[in-house]
């Protein structure tokens, strides 16, 4: 595996493999000295065009625990607008010697475009509304360990609630959860669903109350204030009334049901109860698992030898070495 750009190109087998690898990383993280020399001599560059302290430190920690050298570039999009194109940035940094770029960008598809300009491996840390593959993997790992589902998610019903249309987490999770065999229902008002999801392996509901009592996992997405300006929902208050996890809804959850959120949470909006009072809340677990999952991904791309086999399902093209015409 040369790049991790999206979940869609991983099959169930590869997802399981990465989750199994995560078990090793969890063990390492529990040691007094949570560090192994596996990626010694490799350089990982965190290139974050969209700010995200939590994801960036998660990747930073992951790389360091594998003994890789890490460079952090928090590039505000305005510095790129000052004249250095994305391509220039990538080619310049590549010239310094890079084995992997971890890229977060506000534009869908940017990590995929970047694969054309460098021989380094690319890890998509979130691109626009498109994909957030490591989030999906850590979410799968969380469900796997909390519900004891090491062989797959058959029979699990997972409800993903909220702003699906603008959510890279939702797109990645739909692919990951269904690849592992779960039944997925998207719960949202029609205005927050993507324009055309015929062919998505999901059910759709506009009524959270109808399934809150039987879902095994309730996955809440962040609801942003901007959506009101585009006439997508009338108000945040109405959103919470219809789609938020209110105390009344929380009381109807199954005892074993997990409540998940990719963070950061809008308290009082999609999460209208205190997660500390929800036994099924996995929010902090997700964060812990995030480091281990990212260690597994970096190891798989840079240290496991799998990058040496031809990757028949690589989405990336081969890097162009020609000059610009």
């Amino acid at each position: 595996m040369k790049h991790l750009l999206d979940i869609g190109h991983l099959g169930a087998a590869q997802i399981h493999h990465l989750l199994d690898l995560t078990d090793h990383m969890v063990e390492i993280n529990q040691r007094p000295m949570p560090k192994v020399p596996a990626l010694r001599g490799k350089t990982v560059v965190n290139l974050f065009f969209e700010d995200s302290t939590r994801t960036r430190t998660s990747f930073d920690t992951a790389a360091r625990r594998l003994s890789a050298d890490v460079m952090n570039f928090a590039v505000s999009s305005s510095s790129v607008n000052k004249g250095e194109s994305l391509r220039d940035t990538i080619e310049t940094i590549t010239a310094m010697g890079v084995d992997a770029f971890v890229v977060r960008h506000a534009s869908s598809g940017a990590p995929q475009q970047i694969t054309k300009w460098t021989t380094a491996s690319i890890v998509n840390a979130g691109d626009g509304w498109h994909q957030h593959p490591t989030q999906a993997l850590l979410d799968c790992y969380t469900i796997r360990t909390r519900l004891g589902r090491t062989t797959g998610f058959d029979g699990l019903h997972i409800a993903i609630v909220g702003d699906i249309a603008h959510s890279r987490v939702a797109r990645s999770n739909v692919q990951a959860f269904t690849a592992l065999g779960a039944r997925v229902t998207l719960v949202a008002p029609p205005t927050l669903l993507p324009a055309d999801i015929t062919g998505w392996p999901v059910a759709v509901s506009h009524h959270l109350d109808a399934l809150i009592g039987e879902a095994d996992v309730v996955y809440l997405l962040r609801m942003q204030r901007e959506r009101m300006r585009d006439a997508l929902v009338p108000s945040l208050r109405e959103y919470t009334t219809l789609y938020g996890l209110t105390p009344a809804r929380a009381a109807r959850l199954q005892p074993h049901a997990l409540v998940m959120h990719p963070g950061p949470m809008n308290r009082g909006v999609e999460m209208a109860v205190d997660p500390a009072e929800l036994p099924g809340s996995t929010v902090l677990h997700q964060v812990t698992n995030g480091v281990a999952v990212r260690m597994a991904v970096l190891f798989e791309l840079l240290g496991s030898g799998s990058e040496m086999t031809t990757d028949a399902v690589a989405t990336a093209g081969t890097p162009e070495t020609g000059t610009r015409s």
Binding site: H17, D20, L21, D23, H24, E27, I28, R31, M33, K35, V36, P37, A38, L39, L66, F299, L302, G303, S304, G305, S306, M308
Partner: protein, 182 residues
């Protein structure tokens, strides 16, 4: 044996031979360490784990026989996966399910690394690195059932089941049923 073309797999140690070797090694460990105090057995994943378990059982019987008054003492047993410490990282796939589990601190311990076959010595070198992350042992000793030669590093075993000269392309497999050379 070296230089002979193999006509098929050959049994070079029988099941009984292996069992006796383990028993003998157990005695040697107890003798060398003047008892079992501070001894920790660490089986290398994956071939050394079952051997370490058998050594643990064997030592318990020996010790019990020596100290009839007290009950048998179980020497602590750990497992070690060295995949992340290999210097040929990137050349072999990780084997899932191979866990590292060291249940006691190794500070001041007499660690006995246990493996099935000693070959180039690189696995043991990686194991020494890995052990460092779990404490600072007083001594580290090495027990193997088969030493097949072709060392690439200055590593030597303390306890050996059998010296078995081999050619590089031959394969040695050690199980409860014996040692096969193919």
């Amino acid at each position: 044996m070296a230089g002979q073309t193999s006509g098929g797999p050959r049994l070079v140690m029988s099941a009984d031979d292996v069992r006796r070797a383990i028993t003998r090694i157990g005695h040697e460990i107890v003798e060398h360490n003047h008892g079992v105090e501070g001894v920790v057995l660490v089986g290398l994943q994956r071939g050394g784990v079952w051997i370490a378990q058998q050594l643990q059982a064997s030592i318990a019987r020996i010790d019990a026989a020596a100290h009839e008054a007290a009950g048998p003492v179980e020497v602590p047993l750990g497992t070690l996966d060295v995949s992340f410490y290999r210097d040929d990282v990137g050349l072999r796939p990780i084997v899932p399910g191979s866990v590292t589990d060291i249940p006691v601190t190794l500070d001041g311990a007499h660690v006995v690394l246990v493996d099935d076959v000693l070959f180039t010595g690189r696995t043991v070198r990686a194991a020494l690195d890995a052990l460092n992350d779990h404490g600072r042992p007083h001594t580290v000793q090495l027990a193997v059932i088969v030493d097949r030669g072709h060392r690439e590093l200055p590593i030597r075993p303390d306890y050996i089941g059998k010296n078995l000269p081999t050619s590089r392309h031959e394969n040695v497999s050690v199980t409860v049923d014996g040692v096969e050379l193919a």
